[in-house]
Amino acid sequence: MNDTAEIYDQGEYNFAYLDEQTKRMIRRAILKGIAIPGYQVPFASREMPMPYGWGTGGVQVTASILGKDDCLKMIDQGSDDTTNAVSLRGFFEKTAGIRTTYETSEATVIQTRHRIPEKNLTENQVLVFQVPIPEPLRFLEPRETETRKMHALEDYGLMHVKLYEDIAKNGHIATTYAYPVKVNDRYVMDPSPTPKFDNPKIDQMEALQLYGAGREKRIYAIPPYTKVKSLDFEDYPFEVQKFDKPCGLCGAENVYLDEVILDDKGGRMFVCSDSDYCEERRAEGHAGPMAADPAAIQIGGATVEETI
C-alpha cells in the first residue's frame, strides 16, 4: 500500500474531498445545467485546496460525479503529464483512491483543461472542462446584471459585432480559442479556452459535457447529441486551424499540434498536443519525420507510469 492509500483509509477526507451537502448542491446544479443546455447555473463554489486557475470548478464537478468504480483521466492542454494534470490526478488518487489512466478509451470520467481528446468519446464517458471565465459576453459587457439580461432576451448582437470587427481589422475572424458557440439554437456559450480546432467535436458529441468555473461560480452542460454551432457569417464561415505538417513524432494529420523548441539554434518540431493519442500511434508503429531525431526522442520518448 502506498502513502496516498493510507491517508484515504484513515478517513481524513470524505470520498473525493467534498462533503455530501456540497456534492448534493453541485449535483442539483449539474441536473439543471443538463436540462438547460448552455445556460450557466450559479452554484456555491467552495474553496478548494488549490488556487483558482488550477481547475477548482472542474475539480468540484468531478468530485461530485465520481464513484469508486470510475476510472479518471486528467489532461492539461491535451497532455497527461503536465503540472496541472499531474497535481489534480494526484489529488483524486489521494482523496478518492480511484483508478486513474492515461488512456482515453479506458476512462469513464475525463477532466480536461483546454483540449478535447483526439479520439472520439463514447456514450459511457463524461467530459469535465475547467473553465476560467464562463461568460462569453464578459469582455463585451462587464456587468453580470446586463449579460444575464442579454442571455434572457437572446440578445447576442454584440457578439456578432465583435466577430465582425475581427474581420474588419484582420480580414478574418481572429478568435482562435474560446470561440463562442450557440447551443441548441438558444444560448451562446464559451466552450472554455479550447482551441477552436476542437469546436466541431463539441457538436453532437456522444459523451456528456460538464463545464465548471470555480472562481466565477458557474456550472453548465451540453448533453450528448446536442447541436452546437460555432458563430460565423455566411460569407465568413467558421473554419478550424490547419497545419501544413503532420505530427513530428507519430505522423498524424488533422490533429492539433503543439510547437516544441528543441535547442537554442532554432530547432523545433510540431507534435500532437494529445499525448496519449500520439503515444498510442507510435506504439502501433506510426512514425513521423522527426521520430528518429535524438532531440525529439528525448521529448516524446519518455515512458509514462500509470497507477493501476
Binding site: A29, L31, P42, H151, A152, T226
Partner: protein
C-alpha cells in the same frame, strides 16, 4: 425519552436511510444524471434496500435522499402530504422543508400522478434564472404501457419513443407547452418500480405517428 427519538408516530419506527450515504447517493445520482442527459432512456436505480413508509416508494425515496437537503423546499401531493410517516421520514433524513405552495418548491414528489395538478402551478423559473424552477418527480410509473410520445432534442440521437403512465389525460399537452417556454419550465423525473426516466424542459414532444 429514548422512544420519542426513535419513533415518529405512536408505533411506527423511523425507516432507515442509505446504509452507505456517500456511495449509495453517488450511484443514484449517476443514474439520475444519465437519464436527464438522455431524455426518454431508462435506467435501473439501486435503492439499496430502502423501505420507506407508503405511499413513498423505494425509488422515490432513493431520489429524495440523493437530491434533497435543507436548501430544497419540497412539495408533496395530497396522498403523500397526508402521511405523517412520510413527512417524518423526509424531514429526518433530508432536512428539507415541506412547503404547502407548489410554486415555492425546488422539488415536487407525486405519488398519485393521475391527479397531478397542472404543471404550470409549479415554479417555472425566471427568464434570467431558469434554473430556479421545480423538478417534479412522478412515482409509481409503468414504462412502455400507455400511449407513447416521440421525443427529439438535446440528449437524443434523432428521435426516441417514450411511454409512461399513469399520467393525467392532458399531461402531454402540458409537457409540450412546458417545452415551448424554454428556457423556462419544469423538469420531470419518472420513478418506476426499479427504473427511472427523465424529461428535461429541453425535450420536444410530439404524438407518435401510428
Amino acid at each position: 425519552m429514548e422512544t420519542s427519538i426513535r419513533t415518529t408516530t405512536k408505533n411506527t419506527p423511523l425507516a432507515a436511510g442509505f446504509q452507505d450515504p456517500v456511495h449509495n447517493a453517488q450511484t443514484c445520482f449517476r443514474a439520475i444524471m444519465d437519464v436527464m442527459a438522455r431524455p426518454g432512456s431508462r435506467k435501473v436505480i439501486d435503492t439499496h434496500d430502502l423501505s420507506p413508509p407508503a405511499p413513498l416508494t423505494p425509488v422515490a425515496a432513493a431520489i429524495a435522499l440523493t437530491l434533497f437537503d435543507y436548501d430544497t423546499p419540497v412539495w408533496l401531493d395530497r396522498s403523500l402530504n397526508s402521511s405523517e410517516a412520510v413527512k417524518a421520514f423526509l424531514r429526518f433524513h433530508t432536512g428539507a422543508p415541506i412547503v404547502g405552495e407548489a410554486v415555492d418548491a425546488s422539488f415536487a414528489l407525486v405519488s398519485d400522478p393521475e391527479h397531478l395538478i397542472p404543471l404550470a402551478s409549479f415554479n417555472q423559473g425566471s427568464a434570467e434564472y431558469p434554473d430556479q424552477s421545480t423538478t417534479v418527480i412522478l412515482t409509481g410509473q409503468e414504462f412502455g404501457t400507455a400511449p407513447s410520445v416521440t421525443l427529439t432534442g438535446p440528449g437524443i440521437k434523432d428521435t426516441t419513443v417514450f411511454a409512461t403512465g399513469p399520467v393525467p389525460p392532458v399531461f402531454w399537452d402540458q409537457v409540450a407547452s412546458n417545452n415551448n417556454q424554454f428556457p423556462r419550465g419544469i423538469d420531470l423525473i419518472f420513478a418506476g418500480e426499479t427504473e427511472i426516466a427523465a424529461l428535461p424542459r429541453s425535450t420536444r414532444i410530439s404524438p407518435t405517428e401510428v
